[in-house]
Structures are given as C-alpha cells and as structure tokens.
Symmetry: C2
Subunit: 305 residues, 2 copies
C-alpha cells in the first residue's frame, strides 16, 4: 500500500501538475478555473449520514475550494458510480441532495455521467471564469492570518457519531451538523480582492497552515488558536486531546487567508473572520501561547527545535 | 435494482439537465463545453487490459465525446479512486497511461483528485471553448448519414478476450486493439463545420442511430451497413449473430454524423468517412438491404411494423 500523499506526488510529477485548491489555465486575460472532488461513501461519509446529505456534501467540497480561490462556479457536472442494489427511492434522495445544494449555493448542475459501481462515488466538477485566483503561495511578510471560523467541531462531531462520545445538547448539534451539513464560506467571494493568499481547510488546520507557509516560503506565527472553550470541555470530558481535535480533524470548510493589515477593517465589516496570527520572514508554523511550539503538518505539536 | 437509463431519467428530470454528448453554457458569444466520463474497472475494463491501457482508454471516452461535438479540449482533470492495495509500480503505470494519452491526443492534464476506493475508478473531465456545438437534434431532411468507421470489431474483440472466440490473426489483432487501444476520431474536428448533427457511437450503433433520429425527429434510412465481411466471417465461425455484433456492441468511438449532400466531397477529401444512409421525413431508423426492417434502440431488428 502506498499513501495518498505519495500517489499525488507521483501523478503530480509525471503529469507536471501545478498544486493548489483548484486547477486553471489562461483564457485571454482571464482564467478558466476547474475543480473536481471525489466523494467515496465508504471512506468519506459516516454510516448515519443520509443520502441527500452525502449528495449535498459532495457539492460543498468543490464549492469550498472554488470560493476560497475567489471563483464563483458557473457550471457544475456530477459523475456518479451507483451500487447495483440502489432503489428508485435512493436515487431520488440523491437527486434531492443535489437539488438542495443547487439552490443553497446558487449553482447550476448542467450534466454528468452515471455508472454502476460497488460503492457510491460522487465526483463533483465545477468550472468558473475569473480575473484573478488567490494563490496559496502569495502570503506576504507583515500579513495578518485570518480564519473564517472555529476548529474542533468536525473532530468532535465524528466522535459523537462514530464513538458515541458524550456532549451537551447544543454542542452536540453544532458538532454533528459540522459533519452532516457543512457550509462552504461563500461570503468569502466578497472579500477576495482584499487577501493575498488563501486555502480551504478541509485537510485540517495544521496541514492548511503548513501548506500556506511552505508554498509562500514564509513563517506563520499563530497567537490565537481558532477554537472555543466548548471544544476543550468536550475533549476533557471524553478524554480526547483537544489540540488534536482542533489541528488534525479535517473536513472543516473554513478558509484560512492572509491579508495586509490595512485591509482588515473592510474585511471584518463584510464577513465574520478571526485574526489568528501573522506572517513573518522564515519558515514553519509556530503556535505562541504560553510557550512557542512548532506545528507540523500532521497536526502534532513538538517542542521548538 | 434500477437500470442506468432510469437513473439518468430521474437525475435528468430532477436537475433539469439537457441531454447531449457534452454539457455546455453560453459564455459571451461562445460556449464553455464540459464533459465528464467515469470508467469503473470492474464493469468497463476486461481483466487482461493493462493499467496504462485503462488510463489511456478513460481519456479516449471523454475525448471522443468532445471531438464529435466539434470541441477541442483545452484542459483535462482526472479524479481517481485507487484501491488500497495498489503498489507504487501500479500508480506509475496509471500515470504512464495518462501521459501516453496526453501526447497522443495533444491534451493537457492540469489537475485532479485522488481517493481511496474499493475498485479503480477514473473520472476524466474535459473543458473546451467553442463557437459552435454540433447537436444531436439537428439532422435535416435530405442529409446524408456518415460513419467514420466500421462496426462489429469491439464486440468481436470482447468475445475473443473474454470467451476465447476463434479469429484469424489479423482480425484478432484489429478486434482486440479496438477494445484495448481505441482511437477517438480527432480528425473530425476538421470537418465539423460541414455537418448538421453528430454523436459518438460508444453506446452502440443501434442506440446512436436511434438517439440521433429521436432527437432530430427525423427518419433515418440506412442502406449500407458500416461493417465488413471479416466481422460476418467471425460471427459465422463462432456461432454469433453478426448483426448483434455490429449494432449492439458499443465501446466503438466512431462518430455518426449527418451532413448536406453538397458538403460530402469536401468532407471525404479531409477524412475517411463512409456514407451509410440518408435522413428523411418521419421517425425511426430503418435498415434497407434485401428487406426493410426497423432498427430498435436495443439493437434487435424487428420486421417492419
């Protein structure tokens, strides 16, 4: 067995791919932006997730990648592998999920492909035309680092759904919804002209911060961890590591971005974002609260080397 | 269990999709054309097909749909579900197949997605910009019907590969290659301005002719079946129905098109096509050789009703 990172490395190298949340080519003075994201039910959806929620979530994943780059999708395709035993009712429920997403995110599904497969697989393809694409590699020294939301809920939600972890009713609802009904941050399209770099956090907070820092060849200092006390409480009650929940869960569709200080007022007036740190010369991601620790891609925190 | 046609019907209805070989939206005075085609190894690839051939063929399927509509792809994405047990050598072989297709068809793979799945699944996405899209529904009364090639080889090839059917060495090679190394008819891009309607024949000749006839609301008269004596010989030797091989095999990537008579000389000087019939007022597809028979979508021929 070979892990996903290595597979991507081989394909990226053999096919000379560029690496960002979306793919694109020049089209006159604009960009044609394309994104595909494949959901495999067995590995990507908890057992108690309903079919229409799976369909909706498959759209959220591509949508989040498009909006975090500042691109509004103008057309969506859906490729499906559907198990032989699916009933008409189940197909209708899938279709309903796509329809819900179409309205909720103001997108247009114009076509696709259907096949028989052992497991339900949904590949969502989005296309957009854009004047500009916010890159991962353009964080500038002096930039503030912002997050569009808080982390730890998806890790908690999964543990509630899969391991029956204990949670207060309100937290339980928020955490479970973060898995079953995630929301892409489409408001980000309004502030995209004001940021220097950005990335969708669906690979987890630690991976996202490290990827932005590595691509931009800058040091990221995080002095305000984007999470909340109820995540910490949930971790303590259930004996989990809170930092692992926050930094290494993944499936969050928050956006991490960097922007010049002078743009902050405008951005905060248009969208609910939190400043979590700053960009400096150097490399690596560092967490500064009581002590300084280096945050690695895998989400584990080691003492400063 | 619900069949693929019904699944497509439900999704098409719920999502109000248009139905042609590709999907498209207006983009100023041009069209943005998108196509996705998913290959599932278990159902779409014979056991003895090598991985690089599977990768290459996954590209052929989308490529054929793009070129039959007159659209040259400008960007390609690849979404993969890869079984856990795949080795590095196997990933490299897949990548090699994509690379072969990239060169052979002059396309550019710019990105994609990788996932773990139970079976190998390859979803190929292509995008293009075009002034015009040749539709399925635009066959005109008086048009000639042309085919870019002969039928029956893929059915024979599958039976040689799967059932050890008997074949002469040259026929065997051609038939097997039609399955393992199919060729999209990219030369069609040169004559696309001269045709009124077209469709890729990968669903089989009978389905393709009926789809063109139904969409265009015209009668298709076929007086020259696009096949050859060696297909008939192969059928007789092995006890198969030759017409089933010719009309109902599928997986051919030939293009069926209709065009005004006056364009035929130019078209024949640019590409090797065969005139197989003509478009008349009415509905249905009719085969006229010794007798007149109606050709149904399923490929079975009934007496004229």
């Amino acid at each position: 067995m070979i892990d996903e990172k290595k597979i991507i490395d081989i394909l990226t190298k053999v096919l000379s791919l560029e690496h960002d949340d979306v793919s694109f080519i020049k089209l006159g003075n604009k960009f044609l932006v394309l994104k595909c994201d494949m959901l495999v039910r067995k590995t990507d959806a908890p057992k108690n997730m309903r079919l229409w929620q799976i369909a909706r979530k498959s759209i959220v994943a591509s949508m989040s990648d498009m909006v975090c780059k500042g691109v509004k999708p103008i057309a969506t395709l859906i490729s499906l592998a559907i198990p032989r035993e699916f009933t008409r009712r189940e197909i209708n429920e899938l279709a309903k999920g796509f329809k819900v997403a179409e309205k909720e995110f103001d997108i247009k599904i114009i076509g696709g492909d259907t096949n028989e497969g052992e497991d339900l697989i949904i590949d969502v393809v989005m296309a957009g035309i854009s004047d500009k694409i916010v890159r991962r590699d353009n964080a500038q020294i002096g930039d503030l680092i912002i997050s569009t939301g808080l982390f730890g809920y998806t890790g908690a939600g999964l543990r509630i759904l899969m391991n029956n972890a204990d949670a207060e009713p309100r937290f339980r609802r928020v955490a479970i919804n973060s898995i079953l009904l995630p929301k892409p941050r489409t408001e980000f399209l309004n502030i995209v002209g004001y940021v220097n770099s950005s990335m969708d956090s669906s690979d987890g907070l630690a991976a996202t911060l490290n990827e932005l820092s590595d691509s931009s060849k800058k040091c990221f200092i995080i002095d305000k961890i984007p999470s909340s006390d109820d995540v910490k409480r949930f971790a303590i009650v259930n004996g989990y590591n809170a930092e692992e929940l926050i930094f290494d869960s993944g499936e969050e569709y928050e956006i991490i971005a960097t922007l010049p200080k002078e743009n902050l007022d405008y951005v905060m007036s248009s969208m609910n974002v939190k400043v979590i740190g700053r960009v400096e010369e150097g490399k690596g991601v560092y967490i500064m609260n009581k002590k300084i620790r280096r945050l690695r891609r895998k989400g584990f925190i080691h003492l400063l080397e």
